[in-house]
Symmetry: C2
Subunit: 405 residues, 2 copies
């Protein structure tokens, strides 16, 4: 009955294939830079897209695909060029890429999603991409190795592949969710593009897929973000092809199980993205409690997790709780400075807005680990929220990390 | 008639003295860490304070002093400890410091402003500070050297002293404005505390001083800030002691001249702060034009100037205009992505939201200088605004600066 975590990716669910090829999107590239995820039968698709006002051509295309009534056969992704700020030529490139994939897979043009990541404002080398597609369409496979190759091809400055998969049993049937992602340079999607593709063989309906994806992204990928801070290319896709059979009634136990599994896949991918921030050595998890609303709590948590001063203190292993309180204070949320309690790794280091020295030693010990958790209580309200981040290591860090010592 | 720039600081106007002393606020400190600015006659005072909800004890004290009807005899400043998140003991420390200075100068307690910068959340070593005050009160002098010593004592991670002074003639009288500041670690006041003291011998009235300071700060120090992003300790004080005599009628030519001089002093200090960001090698000035409102323009300018991706590109000398457009796109301001024109050092690098390659070479040349200017036109509106920032150099930068190459 319990969810089972698998060391697999987008090909874990039935009826999905994946693969990669080298298109030399960046001339001289030494690795595959195009990935394709194919559903053997048209899949229900949902998407969450960047809120940036400057949106890349593939975002415009894929949003129209998701918003149309149709189903989706494939997702084409490339690294090396974001196809953003590329004008009408960029739009045409996205459209043509989808059309060529559709031709190769014998589906409709508007059944192909596209996503790009890389440099902004450089003309998109669409001919090079198109040249790689016939081979790419041939090599897609349902194996774990195929999924790994696709997951590798979308990376940019990431240092590690990001995959996740979870299987749940609902009655007589097993449903699987798989996913891959590429990370944001410095966590903040501002810093680079976040792309993720999640696949499932569960028979979700369109509204259901949209609802479940939105909820999962809100609690996971969106906790990586400071409000409105998104790149031109961020997107997360969910493809549900129903290959596992059955049906999932709204509000059923099966839906709850699948929703939980989807959230788990997204959470694993989001944590992997956070832990792989450029130069990051530690995962930072900030919980905020006692806010008036969950929204307030999340705003404060994000402000703390995004603070360069907090991140450098975490890097330096310094339980510099004053920086955490100062970040909370500028989050734009009503709070009582005299009622702030902060725990680092469970150790109380600030109480009622002032030092609680007894906890510092334990907090310093916790800060030496790879996974740092902080909980800030800002009042007596019911609102709770979480944000994911990382430490910050750099020359600039050397100045800040030991500022207090 | 023209304003004359002087290489002097807070003692440039008549009737002000300054000095520094060593209080070992941080044990083992090798330099003076307390500064005092004294007005020989009670001066009209105005202040601009941090908007952070968590405010340091000296902010609370000084705000009450400025808001009271009284005049001010002195400003006491220290580096090494921010006296923030220090509870009731911190408030008492600020109060006692002011009282001891008042006793030494024979004025009232509420005629003394205090300001602190340094680590947050560490109990304030008030006894050490008090121990240094008698000597400090003796050494204050009206020389340029005294002003320099005061300007040095307030620095933290700054690498350079920050002073400015401007003299204007209005009719038969000369009025002088002098100032000193300490910088924010990484420009963003989020990153460290911004303190500034501006002195003048002009006979400003209270409402006038407040109006002129607010206007000057808005166009200068506040362009260093992303909305609401302020430290617990930021403050800018203006002391006007009237020692130059005469009177300044509201709306008079003299007021306009003094207002301009005040703005010039604040602008010089703000640029010095920007250029001295931690690890900064270049001053970055971002102009935005064509917005619906000045507020919108400034919001976009700040978002660009605060973007780590833009800052790393500036550091790397890369005219990566796509990052500038992407930053503009996430500023939360309505704009037409197809109507964005960007000039770097006067060279058009993006037109109508897409590349204008002819300008890249000139832009790259401009980016090699120490002062980088960008102008982004976002539409046909009347709103214009500016933000000041710096490049970003660090290990983390090495990854980002050459991402495109």
């Amino acid at each position: 009955m319990r969810a089972r975590t698998l060391t697999l990716g987008v090909t874990a669910p039935r009826g999905f294939r994946a693969g990669s090829a080298r298109a030399w999107i960046k001339p001289g590239s030494q690795r595959d830079d195009v990935a394709l995820v194919v559903s053997d039968r048209p899949a229900v698709a949902a998407g969450v897209f960047t809120t940036n006002r400057v949106q890349a051509a593939p975002i415009t295309w894929s949003r129209s695909v998701v918003e149309a009534q149709g189903r989706v056969c494939a997702v084409l992704l490339n690294s090396g060029n974001a196809n953003a700020c590329t004008g009408a030529a960029g739009d045409a490139a996205a459209r043509r890429s989808a059309a060529v994939v559709a031709e190769l897979l014998e589906c409709d043009n508007d059944q192909v999603l596209v996503a790009s990541t890389g440099v902004i404002g450089v003309p998109f080398p669409v001919e090079r991409l198109l040249g790689a597609l016939p081979r790419l369409a041939c090599v897609v496979g349902a194996t774990a190795a195929s999924a790994r190759r696709a997951a590798d091809a979308i990376l940019t400055t990431d240092t590690r592949r990001k995959q996740a998969a979870v299987r749940v049993r609902a009655g007589a049937r097993e449903y699987t969710i798989g996913g891959m992602a590429k990370g944001a340079g410095m966590i903040h999607p501002d810093m680079a593009t976040l792309l993720a593709v999640v696949t499932t063989d569960a028979p979700l309906r369109r509204a259901q897929a949209r609802k479940l994806l939105r909820a999962a992204v809100d609690d996971t990928f969106n906790t990586l973000t400071v409000d409105g801070d998104t790149s031109t290319n961020d997107c997360v896709f969910l493809l549900a092809n129903g290959a596992a059979g059955g049906s999932i009634a709204s509000g059923s136990r099966a839906e709850v199980l699948i929703s939980g599994a989807l959230r788990q896949v997204c959470a694993q991918l989001a944590e992997a993205v956070a832990a792989d921030g450029e130069g990051a050595h530690k995962l930072l998890i900030v919980h905020v409690a006692g806010a008036h609303t969950a929204r307030d709590a999340r705003t404060v948590a994000r402000t703390i997790a995004a603070s360069n001063l907090v991140k450098t203190a975490v890097h330096g292993g310094d339980p510099n709780w004053g920086r955490v309180l100062a970040a909370a204070g500028r989050a734009g949320v009503r709070l009582d400075p005299q009622a702030l309690d902060l725990r680092i790794g469970g150790h109380l280091v600030a109480q009622n807005g002032a030092a609680h020295p007894a906890g510092e030693r334990g907090a310093a010990r916790h800060l030496r680990g790879k996974r740092v958790e902080m909980t800030l209580r800002i009042g007596a309200g019911p609102g709770e929220g979480t944000a994911l981040g990382s430490d910050l290591s750099a020359d600039y860090v050397r100045i800040n990390a030991h500022y207090r010592s």
